[in-house]
C-alpha cells in the first residue's frame, strides 16, 4: 500500500452541496407506504371484481361500466384508485429514472416525459369519471 494522496473533498468544504435541501424525498418515501396500503385494498379489490368474480372480464362492456358508475361509491373508488396509483407509480418510475439514467439530459427528458404522461392520465381519467354519460348513444 503506497501512501498516495487521496483527492477527497474536505467534509466542510463550501462547494459541497447541502446534504438535504428539503424533506421532499422523506415525504415521497412516506407517501409510497401510505398510498401503497390504500392501493392494496383498492387495486386488489378492483382486479378481483373485474377479472375473477362471476364471469370476470367476459361480462365487461359499456352497460357494465354504466351500472357501476351509477353508484357514487364506485365512482369514488375509481377516482381514488386513479390518483393514488398514478402518483404511486409515477413516483416509482421517477426513482427508476434517477437510478438508471446516466446523463443529466437523459434524466431530465425522461422525467419530463414521465410528468407529462402522469398529467395526461390524471386529467383524462378524472374527466371521464366526472363527465360519464350513460346515455351517450342518444
Amino acid at each position: 500500500m503506497s501512501a498516495e494522496s487521496l483527492t477527497l473533498d474536505k467534509p466542510r468544504s463550501p462547494r459541497r452541496p447541502a446534504a438535504r435541501r428539503n424533506n421532499f424525498e422523506l415525504y415521497s418515501w412516506l407517501f409510497m407506504r401510505l398510498s401503497g396500503l390504500a392501493l392494496v385494498v383498492l387495486v386488489l379489490g378492483h382486479l378481483f371484481i373485474m377479472n375473477i368474480l362471476d364471469d370476470g372480464v367476459h361480462r365487461i362492456n359499456f352497460a357494465f361500466v354504466a351500472g357501476r358508475w351509477a353508484s357514487p361509491f364506485w365512482q369514488f373508488w375509481d377516482l381514488a384508485m386513479l390518483w393514488l396509483a398514478q402518483l404511486h407509480g409515477g413516483n416509482g418510475m421517477r426513482t427508476i429514472i434517477e437510478d438508471y439514467a446516466r446523463k443529466d439530459t437523459t434524466r431530465f427528458w425522461l422525467k419530463m416525459l414521465l410528468y407529462a404522461s402522469i398529467a395526461l392520465i390524471l386529467a383524462v381519467g378524472t374527466l371521464v369519471i366526472f363527465t360519464f354519460d350513460p346515455n351517450i348513444a342518444g
Binding site: 396500503l37 392501493l39 386488489l44 362492456n61 407509480g89 416509482g92
Partner: protein, 146 residues
C-alpha cells in the same frame, strides 16, 4: 425498496462466492431478487395503467368504441396477459406489505426472509385458483365448449 443491505441476516450467500462467515451480504440474496421483482412488476403495472386509463376513456366516445376495445381483453392471448398482470400486481402488493413491515415493525428486519417465503406461499395459494377462474371460460371455448 428499503429491504436493503442491512436486513440480510448473517450466513447468506454472495454471488461472488465470498466468505459466508465474514459478514452479511445483500448481493445475490433472495432479498435482492425480491427488490428486483418489485421494480419490474411495478414498472410493468405503470405501463399497463397508462393504456388502461386511455381504453376506459373510450366510454366518453361511444359505447360501441368501448365495447370493441374491451372485446380484445377477452381474446385468449390478452386473457393470458391478464393472468400475468394479476400475478405481477399481487406480488407487488404482498411484497409492499413486507417492505412496510420491515420499515415500521420492530421485528420486521429479523423476519424479512420468512416473510418472503410466506408471501410466495400466499401468492401461489391465490394465483392457482385465480388462474383457473380467469382462464376457465377461454379454455372451455377454445376446446369445443359453448
Amino acid at each position: 425498496m428499503s429491504v436493503t443491505a442491512s436486513t440480510a441476516p448473517a450466513g447468506t450467500s454472495d454471488r461472488a462466492g465470498a466468505s459466508r462467515l465474514s459478514g452479511t451480504f445483500y448481493r445475490g440474496d433472495p432479498a435482492m431478487w425480491s427488490w428486483v421483482l418489485h421494480r419490474i412488476t411495478g414498472a410493468l403495472t405503470f405501463f399497463f395503467l397508462f393504456v388502461h386509463v386511455l381504453d376506459t376513456a373510450l366510454v366518453r366516445v361511444s359505447p360501441s368504441a368501448y365495447d370493441a376495445v374491451i372485446e380484445t381483453y377477452k381474446t385468449p392471448f390478452v386473457n393470458l396477459l391478464e393472468v400475468g398482470l394479476v400475478g405481477a400486481v399481487l406480488y407487488h402488493a404482498l411484497n409492499g406489505i413486507r417492505v412496510m413491515l420491515v420499515d415500521f415493525w420492530s421485528q420486521g428486519p429479523r423476519y424479512q426472509r420468512p416473510m418472503l417465503w410466506g408471501l410466495i406461499g400466499v401468492w401461489a395459494a391465490v394465483m392457482i385458483p385465480g388462474t383457473y377462474f380467469m382462464l376457465e371460460r377461454t379454455v372451455s371455448t377454445m376446446f369445443g365448449g359453448h
